[in-house]
């Protein structure tokens, strides 16, 4: 510790040799807030280990070898298919031109439209995937910054969280609250709590309402639908819709690929949490099902399907949320769909 420390000193503001460059109200800290596009400090190169990326490490290592072979195969196949498509389009155009000049031109226009559309779709998919990945990163980084009570990291992360909901009119108040808290001297942990409460809690309420509606609808339709096939279709459709809605609520807006990835994570998540949530839902599930099924098999199935929907919805919520549940307990099935258990008892 032999390095020279700066000496304490003071300058009177009314001294004419001192220039005051006073920003409106609270001066310096507002100016040094990191820009929103900054990399997530210190966490960027660490592997993510939250539930959104559940892959057992041993399995991951084993899969890498296979993955390379399958990548090879897929690359080859993809290349061949695109060559084939290119050849086919080319042939088609040439034949059209051979038939008539005008037909060829029209064909060319359609081909161009196709190309633009495909590129656009691909770009959107990639953007959606990146967006999802950013949210997952934010999720992990927020959890870490909160655990270490890191003020600077929290400030940067919370700014990113607020930026995620920039376009939402109804989040204006929450954003203002967060901005004010990050200007004041608030510790990292508290700042993240403030942001979670101001920005995410209203979304949580809406997501829970969505889950409740979907679960209610599924259990109702299952109970009255005449065909099992119809149930399956309806439940699947409802679950897909619910998952998308929740992802959109939290700012994910997944495309097709994103959706596929999300559903895989959801199933992994359910596989893990389902095993652990014995105290909460499994017992209730058995009891609720038992009582209801004694009354009517259809009704019991309705309850079961409702529970499944609620469970998927909750997993989607836990995965799409840009921050883990920190100030509140994560909601359980009984919180979002109490009517499923109530119906069992009444029946």
């Amino acid at each position: 510790m032999s390095e020279r420390r700066p000496r304490p000193r003071a300058f009177r503001l009314d001294d004419e040799r001192v220039a005051v460059d006073d920003a409106p109200a609270p001066a310096a800290p507002t100016a040094v807030v990191r820009s929103e596009s900054a990399e997530i400090p210190a966490f960027a190169d660490e592997p993510l280990d939250d539930a959104a990326h559940v892959v057992a490490p041993a399995e991951g290592a084993r899969r890498r070898g296979r993955l390379r072979l399958s990548t090879l195969a897929w690359t080859g196949l993809g290349g061949l298919v695109s060559l084939g498509v290119g050849l086919w389009v080319n042939d088609l155009l040439q034949r059209l031109y051979a038939r008539a000049q005008a037909l060829g031109a029209i064909g060319l226009i359609f081909a161009a439209l196709l190309a633009v559309g495909v590129v656009g779709l691909a770009a959107r998919e990639i953007a959606a995937l990146m967006r999802q990945r950013r949210i997952a990163e934010l999720h992990a980084a927020l959890a870490r910054a909160r655990a270490s009570d890191d003020r600077e990291a929290a400030r940067a992360l919370v700014a990113r969280l607020a930026a995620l909901y920039q376009g939402r009119a109804e989040a204006a108040r929450g954003r203002a609250e967060v901005a004010e808290a990050s200007r004041a001297i608030v510790d990292g942990r508290d700042l993240i709590d403030v942001a979670e409460r101001a920005l995410l809690r209203p979304l949580d309420t809406r997501a829970q309402a969505e889950i409740a509606t979907a679960a209610r609808r599924v259990s109702m339709v299952t109970a009255i639908s005449p065909r099992a096939v119809l149930d399956v279709l309806f439940v699947t459709a409802q679950i897909v819709r619910l998952t998308r809605r929740i992802a959109e609520l939290y700012g994910g807006r997944p495309g097709f690929l994103g959706f596929v990835k999300l559903s895989r994570s959801i199933f992994a998540h359910i596989a893990i949490t389902g095993g652990m949530a014995v105290g909460d839902s499994v017992l209730q599930q058995i009891v609720g099902h038992g009582v209801a099924s004694r009354v009517s098999a259809r009704m019991g199935e309705g309850v079961l399907n409702g529970l499944l929907t609620a469970r998927v919805g909750l997993s989607a919520m836990a995965l799409c949320r840009p921050a883990p549940f920190m100030i509140d307990k994560p909601p359980g099935v009984a919180d979002v769909a109490p009517f499923l258990f109530g119906a069992g008892k009444r029946g």
Binding site: M1, R5, P6, R7, P8, R9, A10, F11, R12, L13, D14, V18, D22, A25, P26, A27, A28, P29, A31, V32, R151, E177, E180, A181, A184, I185, V186, D187, D190, D193, V194, R197, A198, I327
Partner: protein
């Protein structure tokens, strides 16, 4: 005591908040800011109930003890916010106030209106130093005090008293005149040691510095004497008289204070003015540590339970707060917290050992400065801008209490132990790596609470769970 606790228990929703701190730690300002922010709806984003809009209102209620003066909240607030804004004068007597907070519970079984009453006690911080005396005999106390006085760091302060002390004979006949002179010189020494320049903390007995209504009574007219171990003083000697008065002091002054205000607390905040001790030097810091350890030993700490809360109330949450955090830039707050953690390490270990929750923060109940970036001679320094008090000086600048100034107070060491290294006391400015000036209270809009630093975090820790 159990009867009162029982009554409180069934009345429900009462928190007895102990605001502890040595003199000048900022107890009065903390209590005033707490009340002000809750009544006038200050911005408390970290206090969950307030941020969620669940606090309907807060208002002052008559305090439970009829025999204790009321905490002069309105006057203190006027002093802070008035035209010639100044910090409240040092507290000279005990006072009390009850704050009722009406709020809605966020419990799962639906919102429910509820009221939490908060009992606050303000008292002169000097009196706190009496608590350690309860466990000490006169002979023990004399030995400790005289050893401290003769230590090299304090010797120059106590020259006059030391001289008189060596002329005293404990076995001599008791004379009131001698006792008075001894007490006067001893008190003068204590007063000098407490001054800003030295900022020493372990200076019992507290009533010598802040006598309250007992000034001049025999219980306050004694002083330590050089007693040999195992020697029984003869009846009628000076030593016997002093010892009797010391015991009277313990019985009539120290014990009632402890019984009435320390034995029945639920939550404790310990305010520590680490900056004054840092200004003075490592010896003052060590002395502060010593005082804090002795004081916190008097707390009844432990996990709360229904039984305990009725028959033997315990403090289940302790917050150590380094006050006047606005006197340095927020980038240094973590280091200030580290120093406080080192200062109170022994007290923290003890409290955590019995299951109490402990937190350490840098706090400023009334924020007197704003932050700025200071560019000077090619360096960019994190600085604070405020109005230093009249007569404060730094380098060649002497402040008049009117002009605003940008102050870079220096850097606290990264390793908290570095602040404790050395023997210096009353360090000259040129030797120190830091110098903390005192600032006047901020000018605030009338009616609005003054800004603060982490007051909301402190409140959340202290009673946020009771507002859940």
């Amino acid at each position: 005591m159990a009867a009162r606790s029982l009554a409180d228990y069934f009345a429900g929703g009462a928190v007895r908040l102990g605001v502890t701190g040595l003199s000048r730690a900022g107890k009065t300002v903390f209590i005033t800011a707490l009340i002000d922010n809750l009544i006038n709806r200050g911005r408390l984003p970290v206090l969950r109930a307030a941020a969620e809009g669940r606090i309907a209102r807060a208002y002052l209620e008559p305090q439970p003890d009829d025999a204790v003066p009321r905490f002069a909240y309105e006057e203190h607030r006027a002093a802070l916010a008035g035209p010639d804004r100044h910090w409240p004068h040092s507290t000279s007597r005990i006072s009390q106030l009850r704050l009722a907070i009406e709020f809605e519970r966020a419990a799962a079984w639906g919102a429910r209106a509820s009221t939490l009453t908060l009992d606050l006690v303000d008292y002169p911080g000097e009196w706190l130093l009496d608590l350690p005396l309860l466990g000490k005999s006169y002979a023990e106390w004399s030995r400790e005090t005289i050893a401290a006085v003769r230590a090299p760091a304090r010797a120059p302060l106590a020259a006059e008293w030391n001289l008189f002390l060596s002329s005293l004979d404990p076995a001599a006949e008791a004379e009131e005149e001698t006792a008075r002179k001894a007490a006067a010189l001893f008190t003068a020494y204590l007063g000098k040691a407490r001054a800003d320049l030295y900022a020493l903390s372990t200076l019992p007995p507290g009533r010598f510095l802040m006598p309250g209504e007992l000034a001049g009574s025999p219980a306050l007219t004694f002083a330590p004497l050089p007693l040999d171990e195992g020697v029984v003083a003869a009846p009628g000697s000076l030593a016997t008289m002093m010892e009797r008065r010391y015991e009277a002091y313990k019985t009539h002054v120290a014990r009632p204070f402890f019984r009435d205000h320390f034995a029945r607390l639920d939550r404790q905040i310990v305010l520590v003015d680490a900056l004054a001790a840092l200004n003075s030097g490592p010896t003052a810091l060590a002395d502060l540590e010593n005082a804090l350890v002795e004081v916190t030993r008097a707390f009844r700490v432990g996990r709360a339970s229904t039984f305990a809360s009725i028959f033997r109330p315990r403090v289940d949450r302790i917050l150590f707060a380094a006050t006047k955090a606005d006197h340095l830039h927020h980038v240094s707050h973590d280091r200030l917290e580290a120093i406080l953690r080192a200062l109170t390490g022994r007290a923290i270990a003890r409290a955590e050992g019995v299951g109490a929750a402990v937190d350490v923060i840098a706090l400023s109940a009334v924020r007197a400065t704003r932050e700025a970036e200071l560019r000077h001679a090619g360096e960019i320094l994190p600085a604070i801008v405020g109005t230093p008090e009249k007569g404060e000086r730094l380098g060649d600048q002497v402040f008049d209490g009117v002009a605003e100034a940008a102050v870079f107070p220096g850097q606290l060491p990264e390793d908290p132990q570095a602040a404790f290294a050395g023997e210096a006391l009353a360090q000259p400015e040129a030797d120190a790596d830091w110098r903390f000036l005192r600032f006047r209270p901020p000018a605030t809009a009338p009616g609005a609470p003054a800004p603060h630093i982490r007051l909301d975090r402190a409140l959340q820790f202290l009673f946020g769970d009771r507002l859940a």
